[in-house]
Amino acid sequence: MTEIRSEPFVVNIGPQHPSTHGVFRVKVTVDGERIVDAEMVMGYLHRSIEKLAEERTYTQNIPFTDRTDYLSSMSNNLGYCLAVEKLAGIEVPPRGNAIRVIMAELQRLASHCMAIGAFANDTGAWQTPVMWTFREREKILDLFEMTSGARLTCNYMRIGGVAFDLPKEFEPACRKLLATFPSFIDELHGLLSENEIFIARTRGIAVITPEQAINASLSGPMLRGSGVAWDIRKADPYCGYEQYDFDIPVGYNGDSYDRFIVRLEEMRQSVRIIEQALDGLPGGPYRTEVPLALRPPKGEAYARVEGPRGELGYYVVSDGGPAPFRFHIRPPSFINLSLLKEMTVGGTVADAIVALGSVDIVVGEIDR
């Protein structure tokens, strides 16, 4: 028989599609149900935050970082503040550090709730997991509202500490949440991790080998899912993470299922960290006073935190003026997308959706 010329045709997944997690578009070429090519198209949400930040003072830039990864504003605030503190040589008091850790870990819980819910939705669970995770996420956002006054874009961290001290009600409310959270994770474990259909849909899909993952600069759960033990909280501790006892979950063979169970386990570890931080919450000031128009000395700094999606780095260059000379964000979900083509080509359309869901992208962060 001669070579059959099949009929590939192009399908746009996104920018308006129920499961692209924002205005993100994948142009896939399919042959029947099988994908032969995939191309990412992004930039629909590009706001040029890096350029805007060059004209505002260091403190004024904190709200911008809320709006990059709008699902984990606390972590973004933290990364930026760390970079500026490193640049200006500012020490944060212990209480401020502990509050930062609590907030960052709560934010990780909230963000992973969202990630897991959306991922389960992508595999076709009809809204139930996403509703459950949103229910828990709301409780965390309540805590944020209690502390910072905002639920989504908190703008809570400040250079030198945090904006306000924790309110009196915070600790009992947070402990109440932590008491129920592990049982909720177990519930999710029963609903999804041990669900045969879920396993059948996600296991062996979008496999990334550890070599590929390292070479493509993946980070966070993507890297750990491939079996690479790398967590910046352990590797390069900031805000006193070295005081807390927690483990790094790593996956087995780097498929979508591994990334999912890694995220689920990370939520358990986060609960552990928050409990320890609450127990050992030091007194004293929560913030070092810095001048409003901070003028760090000439130089550059790269600070990174382990955001919910991976290595969230901020590269700030100062020319001695009140505004950063260069402000660059290393967005984890942008770089985690590098391997999307390798993950999707050869699979079916349904697998591509699962692969995209397992990356856990936030388009505000990709496009900035």
Binding site: M1, E3, I4, S6, E7
Partner: protein, 176 residues
């Protein structure tokens, strides 16, 4: 002989429906529409079967012709490209028309002319009789038909297998 206002009206209605739909198969330019007309013909024939108190056959007609054959034809149309979805005639159309008219013209006078010995009362033909007949007298042809069906399915699968799938399978075997 079938009598009564209802059945007679049903006959004329069904005849009109079936023949018009068959005409639709001939004239519609879009192959997809032609298949939809063909489905109406199938349903009309099922109606005729009901009228002739062959309940089971009517149901089988709907399940197999409408549920399987017509859907398969639609599927095949979608698999072929848009350009070959027209329903045009070849140059032989006039000859075919002559053939069709000739068949009808020869057979219909013959039918009307013949002396049919018809029944006054209809025989009862329950499904169980059909089953007994199929597995009794006609058991050998029945077996043959099933073998034919199996052979046809296997043949169809072999025919449409693409070289890529074959290559993939060979690769897989080699990997083992």
């Amino acid at each position: 002989m079938i009598e009564g206002a209802g059945p007679v009206a049903a006959f004329w209605g069904l005849s009109a429906l079936t023949l018009l739909a068959a005409g639709g198969v001939v004239v519609s330019r879009n192959l997809f529409h032609a298949v939809l007309f063909l489905i109406v013909v199938f349903l009309g024939i099922a109606g005729f079967f009901l009228l002739l108190s062959a309940d089971f056959l009517a149901m089988a007609q709907v399940i197999i012709y409408v549920g399987a054959i017509a859907v398969l034809i639609l599927f095949a149309i979608v698999l072929t490209p848009r350009a070959s979805r027209d329903n045009a005639e070849t140059r032989m159309a006039p000859v075919a028309l002559v053939a069709g008219v000739a068949v009808a013209g020869l057979l219909i006078p013959a039918i009307l002319d013949a002396e049919w010995r018809t029944l006054s009362s209809a025989p009862a033909l329950p499904v169980s009789d059909l089953g007994r007949e199929l597995l009794g007298v006609w058991v050998l042809p029945f077996q043959l038909a099933s073998v034919l069906l199996t052979a046809a399915l296997v043949g169809a699968v072999v025919l449409v297998r693409s070289p890529r799938e074959e290559r993939e399978e060979i690769d897989e075997e080699e990997r083992r």
